[in-house]
């Protein structure tokens, strides 16, 4: 067996997934080739470093902290639930109040405009009354007649 073939089977060899004949050839190559045996030692060291994880357990007080987190979740959940239940009617009430306020403001403006109109009308009436007081209450024909009479005299 050459080094290239050994390297192509190195992971299968490490995991014991080669057939018995190939396994024997790989073992023989390993004992005779220093370069490949160094590489195999390095790679098997890396792959076997995962072994320690298989026996790991969480730290003590894991469940106490988990319970605390679940407690936080429940409190948050209740708060958000309460918020959702209260916030929606509150928002609706605020919107309704805002609508009423805007309505009042708009109708107030309209009323002001009507008052201004009324003021104008009242002013016009007052001016006409004043004019009537100072000018003679004659119709057009009287005025023309008086004018021509004055000329002829």
């Amino acid at each position: 067996m050459d080094c290239v073939r050994f390297k192509n089977s190195i992971l299968n060899y490490y995991y014991g997934e080669c057939d018995p004949v190939l396994t024997k050839e790989l073992q023989d190559h390993l004992t005779g080739c220093e370069k490949c045996s160094i590489i195999f030692a390095q790679i098997s060291g890396v792959l076997s470093s995962a072994e320690t994880i298989k026996s790991e357990e969480p730290e003590p007080f894991y469940y106490t902290r988990l319970q605390a987190k679940i407690g936080d979740y429940k409190t948050g959940h209740i708060r958000s639930h309460l918020f959702a239940r209260l916030a929606q009617p509150l928002a609706a009430a605020c919107l309704a109040a805002l609508g009423v306020f805007i309505g009042i403001r708009i109708s107030g403006n309209l009323a002001d405009q009507t008052l201004v109109g009324n003021d104008i009308n009242q002013t016009e009436v007052a001016e006409v009354q004043l004019a009537n007081e100072y000018f003679p209450k004659a119709d057009k024909d009287d005025i023309i007649e008086t004018y021509y009479l004055n000329i002829n005299e």
């Binding site: 390297k7 790679i43 890396v46 298989k54 790991e56 357990e57 469940y63 979740y73």
Partner: protein, 183 residues
């Protein structure tokens, strides 16, 4: 106690049943998360988040499914999301930081062993992390968590032959990268 009994009691609001359920599966979930190269502290936080997910969604559990399959799926999704979200530079920086700390020590035999183990783990997770996602999950579940092809097929919702193919390709890719690293 049977898993389904614990789940049903938990749904009914029995806190003790949920704690018993968590105690039964905490180690498994913790190790699955660790097998994706996540630090102990983060793995503990993530595994607790997994239990909170379970607590929230326990009513949605389909009782015809295997409990462990369900748990593996949640734990794998959490781990993959975590690894993807962590920026690679940050992740690498953290690992390099660990190595620096070790370099500053005067090594006795045991700390040197620790350093070697840490360095080897770093290389392992670095090379596994370079694999495509499906290959990474299949390889990790098979070679680190020691699950059978059938169990992996159920968890990943693919056929057994697809799992075989994924693991075969993962081994080839990993072999190539490890050889490049050491040659």
């Amino acid at each position: 106690m049977d898993d389904l009994v614990l789940i049903n009691d938990s749904i009914a609001g029995d806190e003790k049943a949920f704690r018993a359920f968590a105690e039964k599966y905490a180690g498994l979930i913790f190790r699955v998360i660790r097998s994706f190269g996540i630090s102990r502290e983060d793995a503990e936080d993530l595994s607790q988040d997994v239990f909170i997910d379970i607590y929230k969604n326990i009513r949605k559990f389909r009782k015809e499914a295997e409990v462990s399959t369900w748990l593996y799926r949640i734990a794998i999704n959490r781990s993959i999301n975590y690894v993807n979200k962590s920026k690679r530079s940050k992740w690498m920086k953290r690992n390099q930081g660990d190595l620096k700390d070790y370099d500053n020590r005067v090594f006795d035999e045991s700390s040197e062993m620790k350093f070697m183990d840490n360095e080897q783990k770093r290389i392992l997770y670095y090379t596994i992390d370079k694999l495509p996602e499906n290959q990474k999950i299949a390889f990790t579940l098979n070679k680190i968590d020691e699950l059978s092809y059938k169990e992996i097929a159920d968890i990943m919702n693919i056929s057994v032959s697809s799992v075989e193919s994924l693991i075969h390709r993962a081994k080839q890719n990993l072999q190539k990268r490890l050889l490049n690293f050491f040659e």
